[in-house]
């Protein structure tokens, strides 16, 4: 009995280790994404001459929703597979960018500190006003967004969160007119 249980657990671990990383977006939405996209170089190119389909991750700094458009200022973070799939804080200021999304996003998903991933198209720099503060940012026009409601914590901190067990609430939203 004990050996069969051990074998079962070992099998799960092996299957899990060999399995591909789970995806948060519909697979057709990530077609043609530039996987060699250089975020730092893009931030330096203020003219935005190149428009590319990208997948970026980060931490929500601030956000504002008005007139069916949601504007999210995001501090870029690298997307990692371990210890948990998603944007991971590397302790560095990698630079900010803005996600513009046409549609509705729940307020709880837009809390500062939440982790977010976006699939969308790069656009030229633009002055963006969020919470009465105007600044110029590089823009990503979002097709799909995925939120981890971490409230500033790491994704890997969940579900064994502090003094108890807390399931990490996640949400994926796509624009109505999103096309692969």
């Amino acid at each position: 009995m004990k050996s069969s249980v051990s074998l079962l657990i070992l099998s799960w671990v092996l299957v899990g280790a060999c399995a591909p990383t789970h995806k948060v977006f519909p697979s057709k939405m990530t077609d043609n994404v530039d996987h060699n996209f250089d975020f730092s170089r893009w931030r330096m190119m203020t003219d935005g001459s190149e428009s590319k389909k990208v997948q970026l991750g980060g931490r929500i700094v601030s956000s504002q929703a008005s007139g069916g458009t949601v504007t999210i200022v995001v501090g870029q973070l690298p997307i990692v597979n371990h210890p948990a799939y998603g944007p991971k804080d590397n302790g560095k200021n990698n630079g900010d960018f803005v996600i513009v999304f046409q549609g509705h996003i729940d307020e709880s998903d837009l809390q500062s500190g939440n982790r977010v991933m976006v699939v969308g198209t790069t656009r030229p720099w633009k002055v963006v006003t969020v919470n009465d503060y105007s600044r110029s940012f590089p823009i990503v026009e979002a097709q799909c967004l995925h939120f981890w409601n971490t409230q500033g914590r790491e994704i890997a901190d969940f579900p064994f969160y502090e003094a108890g067990y807390v399931s990490l609430r996640q949400e994926t939203v796509c624009a109505k007119n999103a096309t692969p």
Partner: protein, 523 residues
């Protein structure tokens, strides 16, 4: 052109001539002066004068820069050249400006100094954090008759818990401690002896409730093998046991955590019973496979949170009887927050030296199923429940009552004299949070539960309905949750088994109660 027009035109021309003359003097002269200062040696360069006037100020920062006009010459230089100010005045002005620059540089140096100091503070590097897990003030009323000196109504601080945590590295992703600062009661361990022996004396009072270390041995194995956790913490037994006191939906704990009062009896139905302990000392492995199947496998002391392991640092003898138990839980997720779990606990228990009510000597097991359903199409609605069953060893006892062994002769072995028993309990809870409209932030909640202390005897069933209403002042779980809760409990207890005298009037589990609780939580 009319006369007024002609006069106006002449006046305009005169005005323009004056403006032109002034601008020529003010704007063009400095340029000429600058050319003269660089091209003609007989005109002393103002900057040279400044250097001659005194020693260069001693600073550790960047070299001071003197503000000058865009043309490369400062206003005081110009005034000096035009003879408007004297050399002494020019020196005073320059000295004043240089002082300002030095002062600015000194302030920047101080800021840099503080920045370098604060950057390494542990609290800014996620190495040390602290928060208020739960501060709860409770008013309660229980309809049961109470003895002289006690009251049916009471104010109390239910929880006053501070939590501390941090991350040391990717390999040591978490340390954690939780302190309960409310007045903690003394706990008696169960002494050995028989029915004639004196009861145990208080041996433990602890406000130290949780402390654990997480180790993530190989980064690339996570989340499949996420981490190894060791210490004392909420056990991964179902939903309620693992839910922080600051995030619970009802005020009272379910009966699976603790029910009954008084001493045990030979039916196995009487006395206090702690079917599942909330905390224990353990080491386990946790992970998640294919983002759907979460597992926990571990071993624990099986003697509650009061039983800290080592009392003697020299002999290594433990402070309490600590029979071991292994446990495992598999949790299968339907989506990110809805799941079903299967839990198993196997091991031994002892009635001597125990800190858990209702435990006998011998084999011990628990099997549980729990679920949580939080549909995406109705985000405010949540439903969850647990079902548990398990065996306790013979001669179960209550904490502090002498017990020693599994024999059923209380004159010899103390305890309750009850044979081993099979217990069973379940509950289901549903709630709905209004997120808009006039009832925004209100959350009605309903729960029903049953606890059967011994499935082989009758007249011992505990049942309870809880109807509640919660209002959230702040509701950003898990970080913040400030709320006020009202619960009314409809309680019923059938008795302590057949043939046992039972007075329901004095049994708090057989009489209705209501509670009102304020809570703050911030982490």
């Amino acid at each position: 052109m009319s006369g007024w027009d002609g006069m106006s035109c002449a006046a305009n021309m005169m005005l323009m001539a004056v403006v032109l003359a002034i601008s020529t003097t003010v704007v063009h002269k400095p340029a000429l002066a600058q050319e003269a200062s660089t091209g003609q040696k007989q005109v002393p360069a103002p900057t040279l004068l400044a250097q001659q006037a005194g020693p260069e100020p001693q600073t550790q920062g960047p070299s001071p820069t003197i503000q000058s006009s865009p043309g490369g010459i400062s206003l005081e230089d110009l005034l000096l050249q035009k003879g408007t100010i004297t050399k002494e005045e020019w020196l005073r002005i320059r000295a004043g400006e240089e002082y300002k620059v030095v002062e600015q540089s000194r302030r920047l140096d101080n800021l840099e100094d503080w920045k370098s100091k604060t950057e390494v503070l542990p609290i800014l590097r996620d190495k040390v954090n602290f928060g208020l897990n739960a501060l709860q003030f409770l008013y309660g009323h229980v309809n049961a008759n109470v003895p002289e000196g006690k009251s049916q109504d009471s104010f109390s601080v239910r929880r006053a818990e501070m939590v501390f945590w941090g991350k040391l590295s990717d390999y040591l992703p978490r340390w954690h401690m939780l302190m309960e600062f409310q007045s903690t009661g003394l706990t008696s361990s169960t002494p050995t002896g028989n029915g004639s022996a004196t009861v145990g004396s208080p041996s433990v009072a602890t406000f130290f409730r949780e402390a654990y270390i997480d180790v993530r041995p190989v980064q690339s194995w996570a989340p499949n093998l996420n981490f190894i956790r060791m210490g004392i913490f909420r056990m991964p037994f179902g939903i309620f046991t693992e839910t922080s006191g600051g995030l619970r939906d009802i005020i009272s704990s379910p009966y699976l955590n603790g029910v009954g009062s008084g001493k045990g009896n030979p039916t196995g139905s009487g006395g206090a019973i702690e079917f599942l302990q909330e905390r224990d000392y353990f080491v386990d492995v946790r992970g998640k496979i294919l983002n759907r199947l979460e597992y926990v496998v571990g071993i624990m002391n099986n003697n509650n949170f009061q039983a800290n392991g080592i009392v003697s640092n020299t002999s290594g003898i433990g402070g309490a009887n600590q029979p071991k138990a292994v446990y495992t839980r598999l949790r299968l997720f339907g989506d990110d927050v809805s799941f079903i779990s299967f839990t198993m606990i196997q091991g031994t228990s002892n009635n001597a030296g125990t800190f858990i009510n209702g435990r006998g000597k011998g084999h011990f097991d628990r099997y549980g199923v729990d679920f949580r359903f939080n549909p995406k199409f109705l985000p405010g609605f949540t439903m969850y429940g647990e079902y548990w069953q398990g065996h306790d060893g013979a001669n179960a006892t209550t904490v502090g009552t002498p017990a020693n062994g599994a024999c059923l002769d209380t004159a010899v072995c103390g305890g309750s004299g009850a044979p081993g028993m099979h217990r069973q309990t379940w509950y289901v809870l549903a709630k709905y949070l209004f997120t808009e409209g006039p009832l925004e932030n209100f959350e009605p909640v309903y729960m029903y539960e049953e606890f059967d202390p011994n499935t082989r005897v009758s007249n011992d069933l505990y049942t309870r309905h809880i109807a509640g209403l919660t209002y959230y002042f702040e509701n950003f779980p898990p970080k913040m949750q400030s709320k006020i809760q009202f619960n009314y409990e409809f309680r019923h207890h059938a008795g302590n088994g057949p043939g046992i005298n039972y007075d329901s009037k004095t049994d708090p589990f057989a009489n209705n109660a209501f509670f009102l609780q304020w809570q703050l939580r911030f982490m």
